[in-house]
Amino acid sequence: MAILEVEDLKVYFPIKAGILNRTVDHVKAVDGVSFSIEQGKTYGLVGESGSGKTTTGRAVIGLESIYSGKVSFNGTDITNFGRENSALRKDVQMIFQDPYSSLNPRKRVLDIISEPLRNFEKLSKTEEKKRVQELLEIVGLSPESILKYPHEFSGGQRQRIGIARAIALKPKLIIADEPVSALDVSVQAQVLNFMQDIQKELNLTYLFISHDLGIVKHMCDDIAIMYKGRYVEQGTITDIFNNPQHIYTKRLVSAIPDINPRNREKQYRIRQEVQREYANSFNDYFDSEGLAYGLQPVSDTHLVALPERG
């Protein structure tokens, strides 16, 4: 059974105008997104900035209010996460994009990592300290750092503290919102490999939000491409990378740099060709407002947003 199921999720932000400050229109940040994730898998959400991928993640964990749609976790409805289901908070955690603002600068590492423990588990001071030190060891930081403040760490180390906090309650699902986009490339690999290690160890499920296709290919089992709040294409890694159907996906995939310099000319030609196709057939793949169509199945796992034929 799927651990997380999202049905027709819509997150709209009102546009207010006029003297009475009435809602005249909505920004459709997420417009009818559905997906499900199996336990222990990693589901990638890819898209350009403003495509609604982060908003989707934040809506799932209850940081954005949901306009319509349904989110269920392990069969329980968590659409109104903010008010109800506080016990389920334990099982769904989030890793934030910016390691510089996601840690309270006034708190020591001990207090930061033990915050979830204090909320959900009644531990004595010594037990708590031991748990935090264990967690720090898991994320590869020195257990002596518990009395330091966040500003004494580098970006990569801070992100590890954020991860330690997210896994402190042994959650089942972690929403990772561009967890490495603020880090150096060398540190990115470290953090990503580490995330995969703890995934195996704790049987975690990830909702992995990223704009970096290379990272997504490395991390995920299934991915979805988003554009302007809608899904463009959804499928397994092989579906998307070897058999992209939608012109937008093709363009994204062709943009991945090839490490072999001999292919440079070939890559350039492919890119040119895809670009030409994109310009020519834009209207076939997007409706009059420039939005993607509804998803049509291509195979059991592969869905593409194509206009209905016939």
Partner: protein, 302 residues
């Protein structure tokens, strides 16, 4: 990784201790000589004033003695006497105590209320913010001086506490507005969002996460408010709406200067009070500045 950990371990000299907030504040004040001198003087004045006031008999000091009117400073009266033959030095001590008490009380009451109000309005935002801010606007358009004067004249039991509450009731809006604007900024930061996802309650987030992060603002405003509140009290007493002459304050002493004769020829009645107000405000400001620097790690000298 190994190297990294070794480096980290080296950086920690004493893993059992890390400087607490109070220690940092203290270190900063010690490093800033002006603030240190100010704080010592301020503490000395406060201790001296509160200590002596216990010994002094207020009724004895404010008793009118027609045989000792307008005495200049002498052995018997260190700072001379006023038009009622009352000892100015004794009045100065008790007056400073009263003024300080009112200053502290007003700052504390209006501060606690204003901070809570501003934090709640800013943190929740939306309708809560709108409703609370309209209440605040209502209070802000009320004429402060007039209302304080009205309340002061109708309150049956006119004590320091009563006066402080009246003043605080019309004095919390500024700090509330300031704190709200900061809270609005702060709640958008990821660490507040993170706390929400970690299941921390709103109350805890407001007072344990957001409030410590705007503590520098709180400390500076509170300190400056303390100086301002002492000033407002003196001003009201100067106008004759503070305490009666039977309860001296720095303002009542100053108000003797409204008499041109006193202003020109009897300096001993009003100069000490004026100088004391000036010195105390300057010292409070110096300490406040040092505290402000201490709360921001980048500006610290200590």
């Amino acid at each position: 990784m190994e190297v990294n950990n070794a480096n980290l371990a080296n950086q920690i000299q004493d893993p059992t201790k890390s400087p607490s907030g109070l220690k940092i504040l203290w270190k900063e004040i010690v490093r800033d000589k002006l603030a240190l001198i100010s704080l010592i003087l301020l503490v000395l004045i406060t201790v001296f004033v509160y200590g002596t006031a216990v010994v002094l008999d207020q009724d004895e000091i404010v008793r009118v003695d027609l045989f000792a009117i307008h005495e200049p400073p002498s052995e018997e009266f260190i700072l001379g006497t006023d038009y009622g033959g009352r000892d100015v030095f004794g009045q100065l001590i008790i007056g400073t105590r009263n003024s300080l008490s009112i200053g502290f009380l007003v700052t504390a009451i209006s501060g606690i209320f204003g901070i809570a109000f501003g934090l709640i309005a800013g943190y929740f935002g939306g309708y809560t913010d709108n409703a609370l801010m309209r209440v605040l606007d209502f209070f802000q358009v009320l004429p402060f001086t007039m209302l304080v004067i009205v309340f002061v004249s109708i309150v049956p039991n006119y004590t320091i506490l009563a006066f402080s509450i009246i003043m605080a009731a019309f004095n919390w809006m500024g700090i509330a507005r300031l704190i709200r604007s900061k809270a609005l900024q702060e709640k958008e930061l990821d660490y507040v969002q993170a706390s929400k996802t970690l299941g921390t309650s709103h109350t805890k987030i407001i007072f344990r996460e957001v409030m410590p992060n705007i503590s520098s603002l709180i400390i500076v405003t509170m300190t400056l408010n303390l100086a301002a509140n002492i000033g407002i009290e003196s001003g009201l007493s100067f106008l004759g709406f503070g305490f009666p002459e039977s309860t001296p304050s720095l303002g009542t002493l100053l108000s003797y200067a409204t008499n041109p004769q006193t202003l020109e020829y009897r300096w001993w009645i009003w100069v000490p009070a004026a100088v004391l107000i000036l010195i105390m405000m300057l010292m409070i400001r110096n300490v406040g500045e040092a505290l402000r620097r201490a709360t921001d790690a980048r500006q610290r000298r200590g």
